[in-house]
């Protein structure tokens, strides 16, 4: 999806400053990796089960994978890895994994009876076989999907990204198809509030969400089918997005892979800061999640826009840059190639400030120049929008132009009614029309200018990068975990041993085995640098 941008060094940033930022990012990411490499989490175990194709839930809606892993936990078997337990059950019952999981979950088999994994090497081989078969299956499905995509046009950049968030998957489908027909390239289904706090994936097709629609495997499938249909109608492949975040992050990644999602909002730090999820948990989960997404060639987009939603966006712009660097090197560590790492940022400075438009240009070019091989996801103004829908359209126009001028790859379109409600069907039309105007009418604009050496935009970008490097230094010195516990981002303090989901983190025993850890892509080297 990402080609190198037309002009990859518009700002002419000091080379040594960039190098320092990169060096620090790499160092921070390595330290994180070293700290988490011996950890796993309940959600990673559940995700691994889902990789095998396990699905469904009991009468109360509790997913089988949750019940199964809880039972592994109670039986003190979890540190071997849920797949090893399952393989042994399969062997005993001679049933397939789905049936085996259900049997355990329903108490037909008591894991306490297993005590420990016996016939270790044999079970390991069985385990590997199960995983390998699943992997091949998924690989085949992925290739099928790529073939399907290749029968269609891929749209032109910047891709227009709109959200649907009615709470009802069937209304979402109508709104998504309408948007696609009107010119949207990417549809994101927004999740119902606080799904990220659920330590499981809800089950089934859902029609009642608040501020969004539940992310379930079944809802993914409904939307995917609808978008495939409309893709075929328009001849343009319409990409599907959901959130890979929260306590169930690795499972969502897996479901995204299984159900053919194209892009996932996935940030290494967001859950820690904004959902008070334990830092060990999130950083362990994100590595596994990203390896899954890498396998699926699913683009991630990070969430740095959130860092400037509650503080002054001009003053704190450098935190966006620092976080992008960290996200980027963590992603490389997790096997994502630069072209799959979408860096997020936003147009959120106070629009009433003198030269704020220049500040936005500086920020947009900065991220463009720092990550020349990666897609950039540009978020529209939200916090300074009001119920004056006409003014919102003006600010969105300014945003669209900056997006086109600075070669951002993905424009998340701002809505006239941002300050009022999740989008109505006509709001998306108006936003697409707004963006399409600039996309066409200013089509070649990014190649027209050079920046004067003395320009305010350049000065501003360098100042931001300088502050970002200073922050990265602090983080590198302390280590990311300590830095988070001291509140380096958004002044929010997140101690390593507090926060949601900490009890789901465990240290892998020496007999832990999860074949996906070797099947899934690993760290990306070399290619990352330019």
């Amino acid at each position: 999806m990402s080609n190198p941008p037309k002009d990859s060094s518009f700002l002419n940033l000091p080379r040594d400053l960039i190098d320092e930022a990169r060096y620090l990012g790499k160092s921070i990411a390595s330290a994180v990796h070293n700290k988490i490499k011996d950890l796993s989490t309940l959600s990673i175990e559940r995700a691994s089960l889902r990789m095998l194709g396990i699905r469904g839930a009991n009468q109360e809606g509790t997913p089988w994978v949750n019940i199964f892993t809880e039972k592994c936990l109670s039986a003190n078997l979890i540190e071997n890895g849920a797949l090893m337990v399952l393989a042994q059950v399969c062997k005993i019952t001679r049933k397939d994994p789905q049936q085996s999981v259900e049997m355990v979950s329903e108490g037909k088999i008591n894991l306490n009876d297993l005590i420990e994994v016996s016939n270790y090497e044999e079970i390991k081989i069985l385990c590997h076989e199960l995983a390998n078969k699943a992997y091949e299956n998924l690989n085949y499905k992925k290739k099928e999907r790529v073939n399907f995509i290749n029968t269609l046009s891929s749209g032109t950049k910047p891709y227009l990204y709109v959200i649907v968030a009615t709470g009802n998957i069937y209304e979402d489908v109508k709104q998504a198809k309408s948007a696609a027909l009107l010119g949207a390239d990417i549809i994101a289904v927004i999740r119902t509030t606080a799904q990220s706090l659920l330590d499981y994936i809800p089950h089934g097709v859902t029609t009642e969400g608040f501020g969004g629609t539940a992310a379930t495997q079944e809802n993914f499938a409904v939307m995917r089918e609808a978008l495939d249909e409309v893709s075929q109608k328009t001849g343009r492949y319409i990409r599907l997005v959901n959130y890979c975040s929260g306590l169930a992050m690795p499972e969502i990644a897996t479901l995204g892979l299984i159900e053919g999602l194209d892009i996932m909002v996935n940030d290494a730090i967001y859950g820690i800061l904004f959902r008070d999820i334990n830092s060990l948990r999130t950083l362990t989960d994100q590595e596994f999640s990203r390896r899954v997404l890498s396998f699926g060639e699913i683009i991630i987009v990070t969430g740095e826009d959130n860092l400037i939603k509650t503080v002054d966006a001009r003053e704190m712009a450098h935190t966006v840059t620092a976080s992008q660097i960290i996200n980027y090197y963590l992603a490389l560590k997790s096997g994502l190639k630069p072209g799959l790492i979408g860096l997020g940022h936003a147009f959120e400075m106070d629009p009433s400030e003198d030269d704020s438009f220049l500040g936005e240009l500086a920020q947009a070019w900065l991220v463009r120049d720092l990550f020349p091989k990666s897609p950039i996801k540009y978020m529209p103004p939200t916090r300074y929008l009001t119920g004056n829908i006409f003014r919102s359209i003006v600010l969105n126009a300014a945003f669209n132009l900056v997006g086109v001028l600075t070669n951002q790859e993905i424009l998340l379109l701002g809505m006239p009614t941002e300050a009022l409600h999740t989008p109505f069907i006509q709001d998306r039309f108006l936003s697409i029309e707004n963006a399409l105007y600039f996309k066409n009418a200013a089509h070649s604009i990014s190649g027209e200018f050079s920046l004067k050496e003395s320009s305010l935009i350049r000065k501003r970008a360098i100042a931001v990068l300088n502050k970002a490097v200073a922050l990265l230094k602090i983080i590198n010195d302390k280590g990311l975990f300590n830095a988070l516990s001291e509140g380096v981002f958004a002044s929010i303090k997140r101690p390593e041993s507090m926060g949601r989901g900490f009890d789901g983190v465990f240290t892998k025993s020496s007999s832990y085995y999860n074949p996906f850890l070797s099947l899934l892509p690993g760290e990306v080297n070399g290619e990352s640098e330019d």
Binding site: T166, N168, E171, Q175, T386, G387, N388, I389, F390, T417, A419, L420, H421, T422, P423, F424, I425
Partner: protein
């Protein structure tokens, strides 16, 4: 079936309105704006934006949920659009019937100087890829241009022995178009000409309904195509000559 406006849930009635009031911004004008919304049948009206405009005026944007609904099965669609007659057919049919060129006179009348719309219909180039009346061999078109006073147009109608008269009106402030269009009808009637000509008006804010009301044979609004006008003329000519 009963339907209402739709925002994101079937029949939620979601609607947006905006207007100014001749009152300064304050509790009174806010209340007045909500009362108006309620009178319009908007349930739960919410003022999403207010602006004092100075000089004792204020502006409001309101969202709410319309309680009115429409039974779509009961809607009578005035009629099916008259089908377009093909360019060659028009020329052939008219030629067969009349064996002479049909004289068409066009003008924007009164003080109106907007000619683009009239030219779009008359000039050979036409509009939106559709050729204009000048291209039809059976039509002899006289485009008198802009700002032709109705009296003067009447003279030209008589001098040129027009079969069809096309007038354009774009400026509508204080209903100047109604005034001008009515005057022209009265003049043609006064001259005993009305029944001998096909009288058609057009313009972005005109409609067929208004045209008929004012005594015209036809009226064409925004985005009209020359071929629609040509078909209408041909049909009328043939009907009349029966």
């Amino acid at each position: 079936m009963l339907i209402k406006p739709y925002g994101d849930t079937f029949n939620d009635g979601a609607i947006q309105i905006s207007f100014s009031l001749p009152l300064p911004l304050g509790e009174k004008s806010k209340k007045a704006s909500l009362e108006l919304a309620l009178k319009m049948g908007i349930a739960n009206p919410k003022i999403t934006f207010t602006q004092d405009l100075g000089e004792d005026f204020s502006f409001f944007i309101i969202y709410g949920n319309l309680s009115h609904e429409i039974d779509i099965d009961s809607l009578k669609i005035s009629e099916v659009k008259e089908p377009i007659i093909d360019f060659w057919d028009i020329n052939r049919l008219i030629d067969e019937k009349f064996n002479r060129k049909i004289v068409i006179v066009g003008a924007t009348i009164g003080s109106d100087a907007h000619t683009v719309g009239l030219d779009a219909i008359l000039s050979a180039k036409g509009y939106a890829g559709d050729v204009g009346l000048e291209r039809y061999p059976v039509f002899q078109v006289h485009n008198l241009g802009s700002q032709v006073l109705p009296e003067l147009l009447l003279e030209q109608i008589m001098d040129l022995q027009a079969d069809v008269v096309l007038v354009s009106q774009v400026v509508t402030q204080k209903n100047i178009h109604i005034h001008n269009l009515t005057q022209l009808v009265e003049l043609t009637e006064g001259a005993g000409l009305r029944d001998h000509i096909i009288l058609i008006c057009g313009g972005p804010y005109l409609s067929k309904e208004l045209a008929l009301e004012l005594g015209y044979d036809g009226g064409f609004g925004a985005h009209s195509l020359p071929s629609e006008v040509a078909s209408f003329i041909a049909r009328r000519l043939l009907e009349k000559s029966k």
